[in-house]
């Protein structure tokens, strides 16, 4: 077999990127097709239903739920303010003396009234939700009432795992080699709002310092499992992340533990030192996998757009691969042979293998399942 399908992460200095930006509920699209947008521009917005406030009106009034009907002055759908009287009792012997008047605790709308529980649900005013462009680019498509498609030309890196939401900032290289462990002393006020790049590892205390200096995001080769636990306050059981509110975004390019950042990734980030980038830590390792992204917009002409259809990545002789499991975890190798027959590896497992070489020409045999193609 001359080639074989293999999953891989994209690391490239030049890609036509297509991003869908969709509202969580239907709403209004604020931009037009062909319009240029910047990452911070709002492209669509909607109103999320407001917070619901349960309020036991029958209790407040001192009547049973069944009796509430006689005294209630509102119905589902009514607009209310804090001055609105929700219900009023008839008072002593129906004379109006010592009557109880219950005002709404919130501004908003009446959601429902229950004769079973005596409870009313009041909904606070709707909350505006905005979707930003997230990347600089051109609107190439409008999805009515839902969102937009933005395209641009970018340098683009997919991470393997991340935490934290979307943010933007300037790339700031703090590591000088892919194997550097970031030095806490290098983080100061000049890092505020920046996306700082570490080499192989970023320990917990450094993440804390970065947070204190308002760093927007950290890109690192590896991170320790226990540091993530300390940061989040819980252990990650299934990798569905990206919405943590930990004060910054972290994108890991290689995995857990101390692992040199792939040279190609490191060099790419170095080349764009000082440039603005968009980054997020969204990871979902399940059906419909999502990986973290680092997007560095480039200058482009409109006629360059029209994203090429993504294809399969194949292992071929000469393909660069990243080893993703021991032994040689993290090494970047070049494929030199793809033997057809099954081969027994140290664990005695019979697997399809490949032969690959290090930069110095040393060759190794590895299971094909334990490498990923570095796409470019």
């Amino acid at each position: 077999m001359g080639q074989a399908y293999s999953a891989g992460l994209t690391v490239t200095d030049n890609i036509i990127l297509r991003k869908e930006r969709i509202l969580p509920l239907k709403g209004t699209v604020l931009v037009e097709k062909g319009q240029k947008v910047a990452a911070d521009d709002v492209v669509a917005e909607t109103l999320l239903p407001g917070k619901v406030v349960p309020f036991n009106l029958a209790n407040k009034l001192g009547v049973t739920p069944a009796q509430l009907e006689k005294f209630i002055q509102i119905k589902a759908g009514d607009q209310i303010t804090k001055q609105t009287v929700l219900a009023e009792s008839a008072g002593l012997f129906g004379t109006g003396l010592f009557k109880t008047v219950v005002h709404s605790p919130v501004d908003g709308e009446v959601e429902s009234v229950s004769a079973v529980t005596g409870q009313v649900l009041l909904r606070e005013p709707r909350v505006p939700i905005q979707v930003k462009a997230f990347v600089d680019g051109i609107i190439t498509d409008i999805i009515p009432e839902e969102g937009v498609v933005i395209e641009n030309k970018s340098a683009y890196i997919q991470g393997i795992f991340g935490i934290g939401d979307e943010t933007t900032g300037e790339i700031m290289m703090l590591a000088s080699t892919p194997g550097d462990e970031i030095d806490a002393g290098k983080i100061n006020e000049s890092c505020r709002g920046k996306i700082i790049v570490a080499g192989s590892f970023v320990p917990f205390h450094v993440i804390e310092i970065a947070k204190n200096h308002g760093v927007a995001a950290i890109i690192t080769g590896g991170i320790d499992d226990q540091d993530i636990k300390k940061l989040l306050g819980y252990d990650i059981g299934v990798a569905i992340t990206g919405h943590e509110e930990v004060g910054l975004t972290i994108v890991c390019t290689e995995g857990f533990g101390k692992i040199d950042m792939a040279r190609k990734t490191f060099e790419l980030l170095k080349r764009f030192n000082g440039k603005k980038a968009s980054i997020h830590g969204h990871t979902q390792i399940r059906a419909g996998v999502i990986r973290p992204e680092i997007i560095i917009p480039l200058e482009f002409q409109e006629d360059e757009l029209g994203a090429a259809k993504a294809g399969l990545s194949y292992l071929r002789i000469g393909t660069s691969v990243r080893v993703i499991r021991q032994p040689h975890f993290g090494s970047i190798l070049k494929v030199t042979a793809l033997p057809e027959e099954l081969t027994k590896v140290e664990s005695e497992t019979l697997v399809r293998t490949l032969e690959a070489e290090f930069e110095d020409g040393t060759r190794v045999i590895l299971p094909r399942a334990n490498v990923e193609v570095i796409e470019s």
Binding site: L121, I285, Q326, E348
Partner: protein, 620 residues
């Protein structure tokens, strides 16, 4: 619809797992059906592909290539332009394509009840039994304020909600109050914004009207029998079945490309053959074994994301299935660590390893789920994790395998108040005849001896039990194949799928290491005799091949027993297999490993050496 061997001569069957898509070729050759070739490829649910059929194409391409090599015929072709050619015409095409699927990830649920420790707990049990991850249990008495509960429901975005509460004729108010909170939260499903969130109501039947009024406009309300019709009666079956139905209908269908795959699966006359969920297909097979052989069977299928346990117990062949949606060897591997704790994994590892290294290794497997252990040390670690995943899945199964499936289970009033146990399990290891393992880590272990070791250590069979493994993981395929040809499925199952590993003899009871435990005399078919007084805390492996039987005389010492009838002496036939007969005197109920680390490692190495589980270099 069944087809005969004239219409079915070549069939492709796939199982689209959450990690790997496994394809097998079944052919009618020399008057019988055989499984001839096997291929696999990563399941393609990752961007940019996001289409499960791409993995099917890749796995089938591997089948084609291997078939061309096997038959030295370059013209063999199963697909054209990315579609199956049906029916077969000479070298081209296949007569049928069938598939099972478990891609789509786990099932995430939220449950509600009135009293957390009563109806709440019942709802939780039903959800867990149906294979869900219970994200939260919300009840009237859980101390959170109502607006906090609403925020929580809204924030969670579960796949579905199960609402319980109130015995029949009991409180309506509290049940409706809970429904009002759900309604106020207006929850949306995690996947697929186009459908309404399914909410199952399994509470007080007198509240159904009010619940309908409160919820029916906002959610997809499904009403089923009360989970707790009386305080001392629990009735989980109907709710559990509803959860399974909805899981199949909604959640699994979110796997990208599933709609396309549904069109592809068809018989020789182009009639559709429905895709079967993997656990349902394996369940079919387990029930067939039990009924055909008239035995009690316990089976397990351990995958990347989930572990399914199946059992058929009692003379009524009561079938139970549980899906542990958060226990698996890749996507869910980190959850195994979180659920079992590091110490429980380390207790199976015969060497020292840095704790941080192990944690990071597990997390790396989670984020790169398709990798395989290349180093021996990593294989040992993965198999240690597998033992814990299997043990936990089995514990969940025992808890949920209730006697009268779909019927009401009686608990007396004192039990109902204490809530300490979940009622009587019908899983009885002392009467179990056959334990069957399936799934990557068991079917593809480099040595079958490792499979036997994992099954024994995880399930701790008691008395005399036969052990078997799905040879190359094809039970799901055969489960769905039986829908179009029982003959093909049965023939392949007997000849190529079910591989007997041997038997395990494990006396029940406690003892002291080194003290007498079992006197065993085994007359083997080759005329040789194994005879030994085996002390407590040992394992012996006696070779006895597939289809062979050893005449055994077994006698225990020190209070140990051999079966349900507390026999201390037995003369029985022990069935051999690929591995042989294991005599395990490590004790049961309790089974306890030495607590002191050095001692534990010493014994682990001894047992592993005796079972020939690993190469000597890792055991020195």
């Amino acid at each position: 619809m069944q087809y005969d061997e004239k219409r079915l001569t070549r069939i492709v069957a796939t199982d689209c797992g959450s990690t790997t898509t496994k394809a097998i070729l079944i052919e009618f050759v020399d008057g019988e059906y055989r499984q001839t070739i096997r291929g696999e490829a990563p399941t393609t649910v990752e961007a940019p592909l996001n289409d499960v059929t791409k993995g099917v194409i890749n796995a089938t391409q591997e089948l084609e290539e291997l078939a061309r090599l096997k038959y030295n015929n370059p013209n063999i072709k199963f697909m054209e332009d990315g579609k199956f050619i049906i029916p077969r015409d000479g070298d081209t095409g296949v007569d049928a394509y069938v598939s099972t699927s478990s891609a789509g990830g786990g099932l995430q649920m939220m449950v509600t009840g009135v009293v957390a420790s009563m109806t709440g707990e019942s709802a939780e049990r039903a959800a867990l039994g149906a294979g869900a991850i219970v994200m939260d249990l919300i009840s009237s008495n859980d101390k959170r304020l109502n607006h906090e509960k609403i925020e929580r429901i809204r924030h969670l975005r579960p796949d579905m909600i199960l609402m319980a509460g109130g015995e029949d004729g009991g409180t309506v108010k509290h049940v409706v109050e809970m429904a009002e909170l759900v309604s106020g939260a207006d929850p949306k499903p995690r996947l697929g914004a186009e459908y309404k969130l399914p909410v199952i109501f399994a509470g007080n039947k007198e509240a159904v009207g009010a619940i309908n009024e409160t919820l029916s406009e906002k959610v997809n309300l499904i009403v089923t029998d009360n989970i707790r019709p009386k305080l001392e009666m629990e009735n989980l079956g109907p709710a559990r079945d509803k959860i399974h139905d909805i899981f199949m209908e909604h959640v699994m269908q979110q796997a990208p490309g599933y709609d396309k795959l549904m069109v592809w699966t068809q018989g020789p006359d182009h009639k559709a053959v429905p895709i079967m969920p993997t656990p349902a297909a394996v369940g079919n097979i387990m029930q067939t074994i039990a009924k055909d052989e008239k035995i009690e069977v316990l089976g397990v299928d351990i995958g990347g994301a989930t572990t399914d346990v199946f059992s058929v117990f009692t003379e009524d062949y009561i079938f139970n299935r549980t899906v542990s949606a958060n226990l698996g060897m890749s996507y869910s591997i980190s959850n195994v660590l979180a659920s079992s704790g590091l110490e429980n994994i380390m207790r199976w590892v015969p060497f020292d390893i840095n704790e941080n290294e192990l944690r990071n290794m597990i997390k790396n497997k989670m984020i790169r789920p398709t990798t395989i252990p290349s180093l021996l040390e990593e294989l040992v670690l993965e198999q240690a994790i597998a033992k814990e995943a299997l043990r936990l899945a089995f514990e969940q199964h025992k808890e949920f395998a209730s006697g009268l499936k779909g019927m009401q289970r009686q608990r007396d009033i004192s039990e109902a108040f204490s809530q300490s146990t979940s009622g009587d399990t019908i899983v009885n290891l002392k009467t179990l005849d056959l334990l069957v393992g399936s799934g990557g880590v068991l079917s593809h272990a480099p040595r079958r001896n490792q499979t036997m070791m994992m099954l024994i250590d995880a399930f701790l069979p008691e008395g005399i039990t036969r052990l078997a493994v799905d040879s190359i993981f094809m039970m799901p395929h055969l489960g769905v194949l039986s829908e179009i040809s029982t003959k093909a499925a049965t023939e392949v199952f007997r000849k190529d799928c079910m591989l007997y590993l041997g038997s395990c003899v494990a006396p029940i009871g406690r003892g002291k290491y080194g003290k007498p435990a079992l006197s065993a005399k085994l007359e083997l078919p080759d005329g040789s005799v194994f005879e030994e007084d085996i002390p407590f805390g040992e394992i012996r492996l006696i070779p006895c091949g597939v289809g062979e039987v050893a005449k055994a005389t077994l006698k225990t010492s020190g209070g140990l027993i051999l079966d349900e009838n507390k026999a201390k002496e037995l003369t029985v036939d022990l069935h051999g297999g690929m591995v042989g007969i294991a005599l395990d005197t490590r004790g049961r109920q309790p089974f306890a490993l030495p607590t002191e680390k050095e001692m534990r490692i010493k014994y682990l190495k001894k047992w592993m050496r005796e079972l020939k589980a690993y190469p000597e270099e890792i055991l020195v």
